[in-house]
Structure formats: C-alpha cells, structure tokens
C-alpha cells in the first residue's frame, strides 16, 4: 500500500531536480533553460535571506492584510450537520483571493533579479489582478495573458487589471482558457527572456515554480495551524480546499503534511460530470503526462493531445494539476474528489445563505465537498475549509446559471 511513497520525507520535497517522486521536473524549451536556472538560483538565495523574509512579512501584514481570520462558521456547521466547520478567510485579503500571497513574493523576487517586465497568465482573473496590483505597487511593467472565453466571463477582473495599468492580452488559440493563456505566456517569455519575469500563479510549470508558489502560499497553512491550536487546542480532523492547478490547496495542505492525523481533501471541478466530456477533474480522470513544463496528471486523449477542460469556475478550468498534488494523491496522503458545476452552485448558495459570505465559484466546490464529507463526521470533530476567494467576480456567471437553473 505504501509502495508509491519513496523513502524520503514527504514534507521536504521536491528533490534538487524538482521531482516529487516521479512528478514535476523541468521540461523547458531550450531558450528558457538558462532563465529557469537563474530563477532557481535566485529563489534559493532569497529563501535563505532573512532580509527578504522581513520585507515579505511586512508586505503580507500591511499591504495584503494578513493574517486572515480563521472563522468558526456556526450557520454552515449547523446547516451541514456533523463537525465544527471553520473557514480560512482568504477572501478577505487585498484583491479578494489567495493569489496575492504568491504575487507579492514573486514580485519582490523579480525586483531583486532586476527584471522590469512581468508576464502572467490568468484564468478567473484573480492571479492577473494580484499580479497587476503588485506590478502597480512595485513599478513593474505588466502583461497578462487571458483566454478569450475568460475575458468574457470575468469582465470585472479585466477592468480591474486595466485600471491597475496592466496590458491584458486576449488569447484566441485552442480552448481560449487558462491552458492557452499559459502557452501564450510561455511564448512571450521565450521571446523576451532577457528582461521579463514569468510570474506563474499556480503550483504548476517547471521547477522551481511548483515549489516556490507552494512556499509563498503555505503562509495560509502556517497561520491556520497556529490559529486552530489557539482556539481549539488541537489540529483539525480534516482540511478541504478546491484544486485547479492547486495553489490554495497546496498552501493550506503543506504545513499539515507531517501531521498525518489530519485528512487532506481536494475538490476538483467535475463540470457536467466526470463521466462526460466536459470537466476539469484532472486527478480523478487524468493520465500521467507532461504539460507546461512538468510531469503530472493531465487530461488528454488516447493520442496524447491535451483535452479542453470545462468548469463553471474559470479558476479551475485547467486540464493539468500541480505535480505535488499528483504525488500526494498517489502517496495516499491527500484525497481528491470531483464536484460538478451544479454541486458547486449549491455550495455557493449555501454559504451565502448560512453565513452571509459570497464565495468565489472555486471554493464553492470545496464547500459542497465539505458537506459530503461531513456526513461521516461527528460533532466533536473539526473541519477547515480554505475559502480561497470572494465571489464578486462571479456575479455574472452565477446569476446567469441560477437564472437558467431555477
């Protein structure tokens, strides 16, 4: 049963080649190899640099608004029945989603590396907004790639990015969503590698991105661990987070990996259902492959062509997943569950009504999953949901979907 767990410390991955077991690595086009190596070296330097961490912590506190509350949700707990449910309120940070934690960290790094121009991809627009925000604050040029379909359904975030001074480039190739935005961002990086820094928003891409983004996001889990110990005097029984590329989930999971008594659950976007052609449940239905520079589970056809993902939530609409999630899945340390569009909308409505909190559609998947998992839990147990972002950006999508459905 443990044969897939290599004999090294699960909390201390990846290895120096960027491997999480058989996953990860660095499948970079040749032009980018030196840039990726430069980034690796620069990141290793700042990882050990106390001055960098002082600067980062000050920004997280005074600019981002950390620590975020760990809120006991009595209404949701009662409605669901079973465990005490806490929400980690990443929706309350500046810009409205956890993406800012990573954008601030990498923005600082880019500045230290002397790169004046930032490129980023975005799906829901939250990472794009976070990146544009950091660029505005730090005086960096900012180009955001966003699939044409996402530009349409996340118009509010497009307007925010433009106000913040970013150039938003609409990507018309392929499925016109996150994966195509990432292709285009990589092409830009290949072309402008001398002066540009590619600020990836998820725990995907070539080494060191999956590790670095996780490190910047793990502030979520570190705070959570401290907060729950303070209020409950112990660790939770389970943690639930949504997984697209998987950055908010990795952020809250990682500090808990060593605490094996804490169950870790990921909610994947199952779109119309995993049995249909329209979903984004990579860990539930994918096959091991290589996409965007790392080896991980990938939604693909029998010929190795990448499938077009589908989810009502633009932030989960991605046919790949971070390599560390693939590793945790195969190692049995985390469990991943598909949640459909319809179920996510139920989760969305439930949190609105029971707590007066409008979640983003991404964590709405986690809320629904929490309801399912809670059925097997008791009132003396504790569950934490990572509420990764707020729902303002999704008003258009939700009103349209609920209008059609009701």
């Amino acid at each position: 049963m443990t044969s897939t767990i290599p004999p090294f410390d699960i909390t201390n991955l990846p290895d120096d080649r960027g491997r999480f077991g058989e996953f990860g690595g660095s499948y970079a086009p040749v032009t980018l190899i030196p840039a990726v190596e430069e980034l690796r070296t620069a990141y290793n330097d700042i990882r050990e640099d106390p001055d960098f961490h002082v600067e980062l912590e000050s920004l997280l506190k005074n600019y981002v608004g950390r620590p975020t509350p760990l809120y006991f949700a009595p209404g949701l707990s009662e409605a669901i029945g079973g465990p005490k449910i806490y929400l980690k309120r990443e929706d309350l940070v500046h810009t409205g989603a956890h993406k800012i934690n990573n954008a601030v960290g990498q923005g600082l790094l880019a500045k230290k590396m002397g790169k004046p121009r930032i490129i980023a991809e975005t799906g829901a627009g939250q990472h794009g907004v976070a990146t544009a925000t950091v660029c505005a604050k730090m005086g960096l040029e900012c180009v955001i790639y966003m699939g044409e379909l996402d530009v349409e359904r996340q118009a509010l975030n497009v307007a925010r990015m433009r106000l913040l001074g970013a150039e938003v480039r609409s990507v018309t190739s392929g499925s016109r969503t996150l994966k195509d935005a990432m292709n285009e961002a990589i092409r830009d990086w290949v072309t402008n590698v001398d002066n540009s820094y590619y600020l990836i928003g998820s725990v995907a891409g070539m080494h060191p991105y999956p590790m670095m983004v996780r490190d910047f996001q793990s502030v979520i889990g570190r705070e959570t661990r401290e907060q729950i110990r303070e209020v409950e005097g112990r660790l939770p029984d389970s943690i639930v987070a949504c997984v697209g590329g998987g950055s908010n989930a990795m952020g809250i999971f990682h500090p808990f990996l060593e605490h094996t008594e804490v169950e870790l659950h990921g909610a994947e976007a199952a779109g119309d259902g995993v049995g249909t052609a329209r979903h984004a449940a990579t860990l539930s239905a994918g096959v091991i492959g290589v996409l965007h520079g790392s080896r991980s589970y990938v939604l693909q056809d029998a010929d190795g062509q990448i499938s077009e993902a589908h989810s009502i939530s633009a932030g989960l609409d991605y046919p790949g997943v971070g390599p560390e999630h693939s590793y945790l899945r195969d190692a049995g340390r985390a469990t991943y569950h598909p949640v459909t569009d319809t179920e996510a909308l139920e989760g969305f409505k439930l949190l609105c009504k029971t707590e007066g909190i409008i979640p983003a559609l991404e964590p709405a998947h986690a809320i629904h999953l929490a309801g399912t998992l809670a059925k097997d839990m008791t009132s003396d147990q504790i569950m934490i949901i990572n509420l990764s972002g707020r729902g303002d950006k999704d008003m258009h999508t939700v009103t349209e979907a609920l209008g059609v459905m009701s």
């Binding site: 080649r17 690595g25 660095s26 499948y27 970079a28 086009p29 040749v30 032009t31 980018l32 190899i33 030196p34 840039a35 190596e37 190739s173 392929g174 994966k179 195509d180 292709n183 990589i186 092409r187 290949v190 072309t191 590698v193 001398d194 096959v287 091991i288 492959g289 290589v290 996409l291 965007h292 520079g293 990938v298 693909q300 029998a302 010929d303 190795g304 062509q305 990448i306």
Partner: protein, 269 residues
C-alpha cells in the same frame, strides 16, 4: 558505449554534403497539413526541389515553442485526424515511395510519452525514421529516450539557443547525435526579416564545444538567409515560411509550391 559501426543516415548525409562542399536544406512540414494525405506528395516534391533532409512535425494541441503559423498547421492537421500512428504510417509510405533522404520526427513530449517511449522509438525505426527532435525535452529529462534511441540506432537531436550557456552546450557532448539544432533567435518559430547579427558568434561557440554538424532554424525564409547562414552552419531548417506558402496555395498545388520554394531557397528559382 562505443559508437555504432555504421554511421546513421543523418550523419552520412551531412558527411556526403560536406564532401561536396554543400549545405543541408531541411524543410519542416506538419504531417497531414494542409490535407491529411498531402505529406505523401509534398515530401517527394521537396526532395526534387533540393531538400536534403525532412522534418516531419507531429501535431500537438499545445505547441508552446511555436509561433502562429506552425500552431495553425498543427491545428489543421489535428482537425484532419492526424495521430501518432498516422505519422508513422506516413513515414513508412514515404520510404515505400522511394524517399531516401533522412526523415526526422519533430514533436512535443506528451504525445510521445502517451504513445510509449519504446514503442515510439521501435515504430520509428521500423517506419524508416532516422531521428527525433523534442523541443520540450531538455537533456536533463531525456535519459530514457536517449538510451532507447541509441539502442535502436536513431539520432536524438538536441536544440541549443543563443541564450544557452557554454556549460549546457558542452554537456551535450556524447549525448547529442546526428546534428545540433541551433535556434537562431530568442523566440518562437516563425519567419523573420533578418538573420540575427549575433548568430555567427553563437555558432562558433557551439562549434568549439561540439563535434557535430550544425543546422540553424527559426525565422529563415529567403535565399539570402540560406546563403548567409550557410557560411557558418552546415545546414538550414525552414518551417514557417514553407507552411505559409502551403497555406496560401490551393491544396492541389501544394507539391509544386513546395518544390519551387526549395528551388528558390537554393537560388535556382
């Protein structure tokens, strides 16, 4: 491991060209573009026009090292129903038709991985394919494919770019075979107006580190480019400029267009 007793078809082709004081002209075509069966007619026409080796592109849904022209051709090929099996079958038929120049498969790693690395190399060998270029498979991740390629006596061709560090280039020694694919510019594939001024210095860096023929690709579209690059390199690779011409032509004229374009690049138009 000792070198194979017989040189590969690619090495032999470069040696023969060098003996005659000529340069390799290596067009890239996407298999199954513009029509599914086009490649079977385009490749012989390219050879007639003066092509000395052929790159057969395996279409991929997410070609992140390619510019818009090759992206579109791949999309078209996928629409036409091209699969890895079909690419193998195309090579097999080209050999049956009597095409003798080296055939090199160029494609992204995921379809190769999905097909199965050993099956990919074994089927390629059986189909008469001489080598592979995988733009998103850097040397550090390529051990398994390199071993299989050696076992089946196929060449695994690596790319180097102007940004590549000397130590990276040197690390290819003993691993790379066939030739070295020198990316002429910092960027994705696609025709450009001018050859980079720093190309000559880049090529001499590669030349001093590796004892293999050098072929230059990315952005080459005119006989002037071919001439200029031919002074420092052993061959040129032409992709997007050819694909654009095939896109503009009536599919029935594609072979003639391909042949004429090779002649034009050779300066024999």
């Amino acid at each position: 491991m000792t070198t194979a007793t017989t040189p590969s078809r690619i090495s032999q082709a470069f040696a023969d060209l060098a003996a005659r004081g000529e340069k390799a002209l290596m067009p890239y075509v996407t298999v199954g573009h513009p029509l599914k069966e086009s490649t079977l007619e385009i490749v012989p026409a390219l050879v007639e026009g003066g092509a000395t080796m052929i790159e057969l592109g395996i279409p991929f849904s997410d070609p992140l090292a390619d510019g818009p022209t090759i992206q579109r051709s791949g999309y078209q090929a996928l629409q036409n129903g091209v699969t890895m099996e079909f690419c193998m079958e195309t090579a097999r038929q080209l050999r049956q038709q009597g095409v003798e120049v080296p055939l090199i498969l160029m494609g992204y790693y995921n379809p190769v991985l999905r097909y199965g690395l050993e099956r990919f190399v074994a089927d390629s060998a059986e189909a008469g394919i001489d080598g592979f270029i995988i733009p998103d498979l850097p040397p550090d991740e390529s051990a398994e494919l390199a071993e299989l390629s050696q076992a089946y006596q196929r060449d695994l061709i690596f790319m180097v770019a102007p940004t590549s560090r000397d130590q990276h280039i040197a690390s290819l020694s003993g691993r790379a075979s066939g030739f070295v694919y020198c990316v002429s510019v910092t960027g994705v594939t696609g025709a450009r107006d001018d050859v980079s001024a720093s190309l000559s210095g880049f090529l001499s860096r590669v030349r001093s580190a590796l004892d293999l023929p050098l072929a230059v690709g990315f952005g080459i579209s005119t006989p002037e480019h071919v001439q200029e690059i031919g002074r420092d390199a052993d061959g040129v690779i032409v992709g997007s400029a050819l694909i654009s011409r095939l896109d503009e032509a009536d599919p029935a004229d594609a072979p003639a267009v391909a042949r004429e374009f090779m002649r034009y690049l050779r300066g024999n138009a």
